[in-house]
């Protein structure tokens, strides 16, 4: 194994243990590692933006292909930095408005078609089929979605029939939250498995 790789593994192990030291209590090693992480990450993002966006999408087309229209987004981008001045900070709103407007427009189209119409269509299921299990599942799905949606209707007080239906909706929501919790535990444990495997395998060579 090359020396740089060996040094890298030891560095990685040391930084891993610095972060883990927080489990005992907050300490200078953890603070150092935490600040180093923020600094390196921020520098990493800036560098990737430079190589993957500014150079191929702005600088090269502007300077080598003469696409002068790209001066418009360049100007909008520079305007963002006016936030650092007190006198001209209002100019940054133009760029912010462009970004916010674009994402708002995208959200309407995306959520409308992907999450609203297609999901409702997918829930229009036959309640009586040849298989009793499929029929049961479809009925349960339909009841679950409708009662769940009724729970989110807060314009009327949840009393009487509406309250009872909303209560059934809560049960389905609790089941989905329970499943999410179970999967979240699985996810968090996986992340720890990854780090422990690194320490035992790559660093200490206790496992293959």
């Amino acid at each position: 194994m090359p020396l740089s790789e060996t040094i890298g593994i030891w560095l990685g192990a040391a930084l891993t243990l610095c972060i883990f030291s927080f489990l005992y209590r907050d300490n200078p090693f953890y603070k150092f590692a935490e600040h180093l992480f923020v600094g390196i990450s921020a520098g990493y993002w800036a560098t990737l933006e430079w190589h993957n966006v500014f150079l191929p999408n702005l600088w090269e087309p502007l300077t080598r292909e003469g696409r002068l229209l790209l001066l418009v987004p360049f100007a909008f981008g520079i305007l963002l930095f006016s936030r650092f001045t007190r006198r001209f900070s209002w100019l940054s709103r133009w760029s912010m408005a462009l970004i916010i407007g674009i994402y708002a427009g995208i959200a309407i189209v995306g959520y409308g078609s992907g999450d609203l119409i297609l999901q409702i269509r997918a829930n229009l299921l036959p309640l009586w089929t040849d298989s009793w299990l499929t029929s049961f599942n479809n009925i349960l799905l339909t009841v679950g979605v409708i009662t769940g949606l009724i729970y989110f209707f807060f314009s009327k007080e949840h009393k009487g029939a509406l309250g009872g239906t909303a209560k059934v909706g809560i049960w389905f929501l609790m089941i989905s939250f329970g499943a999410s919790f179970g999967y979240t535990v699985m996810s968090r444990m996986s992340l720890l498995i990854g780090r422990v495997l690194f320490l035992l395998k790559d660093w200490l060579r206790l496992v293959d």
Partner: protein, 280 residues
């Protein structure tokens, strides 16, 4: 008895931490290699790729970071392996800046087993692009305009694999390895629902439950959820990796968490009952 339960309720959390660490470390040191079966969403993901004719182009978007690497990196490697070993052409992009070097590493691992695969012909890395959903929608009109060059600065018009690839109509499938936002949900909303391209997802276990509706509606052809999903997928492609390795530790740690929940509740309700009886 009452004292034991009270002490249990007030247990120092560092003792809990030690139990969790041991529940992960011991199974890794002393593996049992418990058997497990493959679930339908994972099988569907695998079958979707198997159904593609050799030579088809597949767009793989690797949108994750080191924080989700234990779950997603094994999926990424297995996906690249299945795609390339079936002579499918891989066009990879990233919408997370942190995914760039991880994608490179995943591909390096696969190329050790498939050294005859040629960059620019069998696969290409177009790199990272900022913009999230804007990039996705932009690719729907023109992939070359959105990604004018690859990761190394070569113009896409000079890359053989990119010949004839202009929009999503020119790719047979889209595979998304998703660590969060932007990820599978955004690909479903902005791309699948608009351009109707076949979309398979590998995601973290945190996100997996919310993507089941997309599998049922057909918006996703398959779903790999978390490390377990990665392990099942590794089993199907016959390339054991770190995901399968971690299954024993996953099993033991889950049992430990279940026991903590159980003991915590027993201790709580017992001391609560005792306090009530003392008051009376």
């Amino acid at each position: 008895m009452r004292r034991i339960l009270e002490r249990l309720e007030a247990l120092d959390r560092r003792i809990i931490f030690v139990f969790i660490f041991l529940s992960i470390a011991l199974p890794l040191l002393l593996p049992v290699n418990m058997e497990f079966s493959v679930t339908p969403p994972v099988k569907s993901f695998y079958d979707a790729i198997e159904s593609l004719p050799p030579g088809s182009k597949v767009l793989v978007s690797c949108d994750y970071d080191p924080g989700s690497m234990p779950e997603l990196f094994p999926m990424n490697v297995a996906a690249f392996y299945q795609l390339l070993s079936r002579d499918l052409r891989v066009i990879t992009i990233q919408l997370w800046a942190t995914g760039t070097l991880l994608t490179e590493r995943a591909m390096s691992e696969v190329l050790e087993d498939l050294p005859d695969k040629e960059y620019g012909v069998d696969w290409v890395d177009l790199g990272f692009k900022e913009g999230r959903e804007v990039v996705m929608v932009s690719m729907g009109t023109s992939i070359p305009k959105t990604f004018p060059s690859d990761l190394h600065g070569t113009k896409v018009k000079d890359i053989p694999i990119m010949e004839g690839v202009n929009t999503f109509d020119d790719v047979a499938m889209l595979v998304n390895i998703s660590g969060g936002l932007p990820g599978t949900k955004e690909w479903v909303l902005q791309v699948q629902s608009r351009y109707h391209v076949m979309l398979g997802s590998g995601c973290t276990a945190v996100s997996a439950p919310e993507f089941y509706p997309y599998v049922q509606s057909g918006q996703l052809v398959g779903l790999l959820g978390g490390m377990k999903g990665a392990a099942e997928y590794e089993k199907l492609v016959r390339r054991p990796g770190t995901a399968q390795r971690g299954m024993d530790a996953q099993s033991v740690s889950h049992i430990i968490v279940f026991l903590f929940i159980l003991i915590g509740n027993i201790a709580y309700f017992s001391t609560k009952g005792m306090k009530k009886r003392l008051k009376v």
